[in-house]
């Protein structure tokens, strides 16, 4: 069973449907006992970093998610959920994340040439970095995935497992052991996205 963390952020309809489409049993929950019993955990999210981080903290989920991720259970952050894995975000100020992966979330603006539009929105190709990640088990280098974002993960080079070219190399996905993060939306990336979710839901904890 894969658990989607429910903390009142974003629309979980498509994520839930896509996980079902790859044959996973899915539960959407904020209940720590259910999260503990899940085989894998997904932290979703769209919207503003500050608001999402606050919701995680105030619901008491932050600490619980940190200890679950550190316990070795496969853990995947998607979009804002990926950004929350980092130490800090500089989206409208300076805000603390979960600190599960070293690095910071910074605005794309200023990193890419001026003629590039912000947000980075649309289909872009993945360039795998380092050893092929188990998350990429069923997909290939150069495959296309769907992005929508104005901030990106920086200062995290050793954990980048794929990046995408948009006037600069932008972090597309990161991993540190059992903890994974995708900046793009696998649930909106057609067959490629489904294959990424399939690989994740097949992962086993330590």
């Amino acid at each position: 069973m894969v658990a989607i963390v429910d903390y009142g952020v974003g629309n979980l309809f498509s994520l839930k449907s896509s996980l079902k489409a790859v044959g996973a049993e899915v539960v959407v929950t904020a209940d720590i006992e259910v999260l503990k019993s899940a085989d894998q955990i997904i932290l979703p999210g769209v919207g503003a970093f500050e608001d999402a981080a606050k919701k995680l903290r105030e619901s008491g989920l932050s600490e619980k998610l940190i200890s679950l991720a550190k316990s070795g259970k496969p853990f995947l952050g998607i979009c804002l959920g990926m950004q929350l894995l980092f130490e800090k975000s500089y989206e409208y100020g300076e805000h603390e994340g979960l600190g599960l992966i070293k690095g910071n979330v910074r605005p794309i603006e200023g990193v890419i040439p001026e003629e590039y539009k912000i947000p980075h929105i649309g289909w872009n190709s993945l360039s795998f970095k380092g050893e092929k990640s188990p998350l990429w088990k069923y997909i290939n280098d150069g495959d296309y995935v769907y992005f929508v974002h104005s901030y990106y993960a920086a200062d995290c080079e050793k954990n980048v497992i794929a990046d995408s070219e948009y006037g600069a190399r932008l972090t597309a996905a990161v991993a540190d052991g059992n903890i994974f993060g995708c900046q793009f939306h696998p649930e909106k990336s057609g067959t490629v996205g489904l294959n990424i979710l399939k690989a994740f839901t097949e992962m086993k904890g330590e």
């Binding site: 498509s14 449907s17 649930e187």
Partner: protein, 252 residues
């Protein structure tokens, strides 16, 4: 590298797609779910569902179908038609829409874009404008292109983007249905006025029209069409293969 997007638009009335022909392997051509799956498998980069239903029963049917589609089609879905309030945004987003396009609703209530963008984010709000030349000036039309609002189009679109619209669909009434190509002059004017993605609509008649669009106007991000895809005049897989051949960044 980011790719140029090809977006088929499905007009839905009372739960059925309004126009279409038989595609190989497609049992029910007027089923929005079947057609959405078919387009997705042909390489469509996004889908637009346009609700042209007038009754509240039809609206309920529309959201049911949207849910059904979002359960089996995993590419971005945009919904337009009948979006007048934030509650309408909520209704379609809960059923699996990723973006919501507003047209007449934003003209009637200029705060709608601002309120929706604040709640759901800029990336969720698309301004769709029907524009026609009147005495040499680009004017915004409402009610499906029947009513001249008197608004100057470039200023209007800039204002919508300023209020939080994250994308613009520009539908040229002058080229719509003529099938002689997109309205490059109008598109160029809009692209130079805003910094968000611009989607070209109205006028595509053949594959070359899309090639000309992307080759001439680098700033246009996507091409949208309805009837040429539904009537099988242009196959999306052929179109994308030709785009790639012409060195246009394309997801194959």
């Amino acid at each position: 590298m980011i790719t140029k997007r090809i977006i088929p638009c499905l007009d839905v009335r009372d739960g059925r797609v309004v126009k279409g022909v038989n595609f190989e392997g497609l049992r029910d051509v007027s089923s929005p779910v079947e057609l959405a799956k078919y387009y997705s498998s042909c390489g469509a980069d996004e889908l637009v569902f346009y609700d042209i239903t007038a009754s509240s029963d039809g609206r309920k049917l529309f959201t049911d179908i949207l849910c059904e589609t979002a359960k089996s089609v995993f590419i971005p879905l945009t919904v337009g038609g009948g979006i007048n309030t934030v509650a309408d945004f909520d209704r379609v987003l809960k059923c699996g829409a990723d973006k919501v396009s507003v047209n007449s609703g934003a003209i009637r209530n200029p705060d709608l874009i601002y309120e929706a963008a604040k709640l759901y984010g800029d990336q969720c709000v698309v301004i769709s404008a029907d524009v026609k030349r009147v005495d040499g000036v680009f004017r915004v039309f409402a009610k499906g292109g029947r009513e001249n609002t008197g608004l100057e189009a470039i200023e209007w679109i800039k204002r919508c983007v300023g209020n939080g619209a994250g994308e613009v669909v520009l539908n040229s009434i002058d080229t719509d249905g003529v099938k002689k190509g997109f309205d490059l002059e109008m598109l160029d004017a809009v692209c130079n006025a805003v910094s968000v993605p611009v989607i070209a609509s109205g006028g595509a008649g053949c594959i070359d029209d899309f090639i000309t669009l992307f080759k001439t106007l680098d700033k246009v991000d996507a091409g949208l069409a309805a009837s040429i895809f539904h009537f099988g005049e242009v196959k999306i897989s052929d179109l994308k293969a030709e785009m790639a051949k012409a060195n246009i960044p394309t997801r194959l």
